[in-house]
């Protein structure tokens, strides 16, 4: 046990925490807009935001790798302007994870906003409040279960990603070697003991996270009398 390396887990959690934070900021306005808009383009935007759910991670990883590498305009721009490389390092992983986990943040939030009583939001506008004030003071506090679900599922899903991470990050210890990749490598070199321990940790954590979400939602629903 003494030689067991927990660095991949720390890296996974760091990646998931940063990704969740960034996605919360980016996905919140998107989810709010999708829930309120009557625009004809809504199905297209919905289809694009949901793509990462159905695309094989290798396809997503391949495109991200292609787009961010030094040979592409985006990758070249970041390297020349900011001196940042976007592939095979932690920054690249964050960017890739944000694409990969985007729908897991958007969809629960959008679903939550859509179940809100429209008249309640209108009452806020009539009270003279802007859309932003209505979002923060009326909409968000009334979709707490959806909010918690979105944050936890995004976090857990990012911890659990494998294909995209492998494609974009490779397996550089302390940089891109996250837990799921570490398990894959342990199995590959037939270190089943390590693979077992890592896998059991992942399984337990995933279960506890989901249990936490469902317990919270149950308690919340009881409290507000649903």
């Amino acid at each position: 046990m003494s030689e067991l390396d927990f660095a991949p887990f720390l890296l996974s959690f760091k990646l998931a925490a940063i990704t969740t934070l960034i996605l919360f900021i980016i996905a919140l306005p998107v989810a709010w807009w999708l829930s309120q808009t009557k625009c004809r383009c809504k199905p297209f935007v919905e289809a694009i935001t949901s793509l990462p759910i159905v695309l094989p991670p290798s396809v997503l990883g391949f495109y991200i790798l292609f787009a961010l590498s030094q040979n592409s305009p985006i990758g070249a721009f970041f390297e020349q302007t900011f001196g940042i490389k976007l592939v095979f390092n932690f920054t690249g992983l964050v960017v890739a994870s944000c694409f990969y986990s985007f729908p897991f943040m958007v969809q629960p939030l959008q679903g939550g906003f859509e179940t809100l009583n429209k008249n309640m939001l209108e009452a806020s506008y009539i009270a003279g409040k802007s859309r932003l004030q209505t979002l923060y003071f009326v909409a968000l506090p009334n979709i707490k279960p959806a909010l918690i679900t979105a944050i936890i599922i995004t976090f857990a899903h990012t911890v659990g990603e494998f294909g995209v991470v492998l494609m974009v990050g490779g397996s550089i210890p302390n940089e891109t070697k996250v837990a799921s990749v570490a398990i894959y490598e342990a199995v590959e070199i037939m270190d089943y003991k390590t693979a077992h321990i890592y896998s059991l940790i992942m399984l337990s954590l995933s279960f506890l996270v989901l249990l936490g979400v469902y317990l919270f939602n149950r308690r919340h629903n009881k409290r507000i009398g649903v």
């Binding site: 008249n119 009452a123 506008y125 009539i126 003279g128 009326v138």
Partner: protein, 283 residues
Amino acid sequence: MIELSLQKKLQGSHGAMHLDVNLEIKEHDFVALSGKSGSGKTTLLRIIAGLEEAQGEIIVSEKIWQNSKNYLPTQKREIGFVFQDYALFANMSVLQNLLFVSEDKKLASHLLELTELTELQNRLPHTLSGGQKQRVALCRSLMRRPKILLMDEPLSALDMEMRNKLQDDILKLHKEFGTTTIMVSHDPSEIYRLANRVVMLSHGKIMQDGTPKEVLLQTKGSQKFSLKGELLDILKADVIYIGIIAIGQNIVEVVMDEAEAKTFKIGQSVHVNTKAFAPSLSH
């Protein structure tokens, strides 16, 4: 003075409909908007509130709320709105619901006192009864001291007793705050008690406009009284016919001759009236 001249194409339950309303309302008036469902009442209210767009003009006390060039957003219109389903902010207590609209604590406690809600001010909406919720919504709608108070069937989800109580509250607040109130309602007794003007809409157009007495009283000419009902059945009894008619919650019988019985169809809406004698009241 509130001047409305509004046009909008609507998709109603009976196909396309053209809402076309020209209306002038005096300040401090209490106007009841009535008419069958799908006649455009709620839409008209929502257009005045800026919740739905329409062509035309809204001018309130010489201030343009909307015309072909300008469109004042909902937030800038000085209105209060009471929804049929209360639409309280579920995450806020009774008092917070009021203070979210305006920080005026004095006004909030005054309103809560008037409507006997002071005891409940720290409760969350889901712990209140329907009548209590609607009283909170009524108080909340007045927190900005609105020029126009719009109410969309505010009492239709409540029982009779609660309606009477809230009608008193509405009247009290309408007078104290001097708002111009426009209320959608189907209930003739409610309209008679509260409004000084009734506007009847049908298929998006104004069909009748007058005092509640002019519009609601159904008697014509020498008729002493007239009640609207639904013909439920026609029974033959020897040589005469008896029509069974539902009026409100009551069922009555009316004698008909054979010729009359042939002109009426079961299920049709009829007026029951009498000229020969005056009806009397009893307990």
